[in-house]
Symmetry: C2
Subunit: 194 residues, 2 copies
């Protein structure tokens, strides 16, 4: 977190529950802290992975903490398609233009379809842009699938790597798995894939 002038909005990283696409949804306040839901309920400007999913999430929040502003009146901007496809984690995409509302003094929220934005999900470019613009970035507590899986694996949690998606091609995939296996055996570093 960096300090910032009072006339700038903050960028909140808002985790989403992990039941995305499930038939049965968990009660939201069982898996999300009240602090996270309460902040989300008052944010009026969003950058997201998927607008439809985000609206669905905000509807669920509204049942517990009424939104400050009607759902229809919220500004919800999707990250562009190129970011979904190729990812935005290497700094290729300049997201500064998405943060106009924060420069105008409004708090903003970044949200992905499930879990923590910018971790194994799009959003890192937006966080980077916020830092470039001198905005305060505030991560909120919520579920993160890769962390829950790592903790419950019983594998080394003092030295681990998350390496994203494996290649889809069968030969490349086997080659990559062998590489990761050899790295794990040589270094003792847990290797986790998407």
């Amino acid at each position: 977190m960096t300090m910032q002038p009072a006339n700038l909005g903050r960028l909140y990283l808002v985790p989403a529950p992990l039941d995305f696409g499930c038939d049965e949804l968990a009660p939201l306040d069982e898996v999300m802290p009240a602090g996270t839901l309460r902040v989300a309920a008052r944010i009026q400007h969003w950058v997201c992975e998927n607008a439809k999913t985000s609206r669905g999430y905000l509807k669920r929040i509204n049942e517990i903490y009424p939104l400050t502003c009607a759902l229809q009146a919220l500004s919800i901007t999707e990250l562009p398609r190129e970011v979904h496809k190729k990812g935005d984690h290497q700094g290729e995409f300049d997201a500064k233009h998405l943060l106009g509302p924060a420069l105008a003094g409004h708090d903003m929220g970044l949200v992905s379809e499930a879990g923590m934005p910018a971790v194994a999900d799009p959003g890192a470019s937006v966080v980077k842009a916020a830092h470039d613009l001198g905005l305060q970035v505030v991560p909120l507590v919520g579920p993160v699938s890769l962390l829950l899986a790592l903790a419950s694996s019983g594998l080394n949690g003092q030295n681990f790597a998350f390496v994203g998606y494996l290649p889809t091609d069968a030969t490349d995939r086997i080659k990559r798995l062998r590489e990761l296996e050899s790295l794990a055996l040589k270094t003792g570093q847990t290797q986790q894939q998407s």
Copy 2:
């Protein structure tokens, strides 16, 4: 998670808030989901990093969700000192004997001083032992400092490594930092230290 006979207890991984050692404590129900606190309030057998800290955490939970069993009557077992010092993440320590209550049908909790047990904290040996014994391992949602830091860094969150503590010796420390820098530049993998 593995399915298990009904006569065995589960091992719950219970995250703790990150305000450990801070002068001002956050309201617990702002940063922890109700589901996590409610499960913790009914667990009577604990394995922990530090018994004093764990009692303090359970006292705070008791103010929101009364504990099923009086604090004085809980069984709270500390991981042995050797595990604190050298870590228990490489499978050196056999923790099976700590899981007796679960074998006798009682749910158990694993908790560290702050954040998620077994991730950048002791506990992996207990999780491994639970798997060896065929116990169901259930991770609960809560704050994890390294994840919050990673998400708000704006760095690559699709490929990252957590590498634990740096060497304390100045020369070794510089050497290790240069290694990690070169790895980050070569592979684009974010490198995060304790």
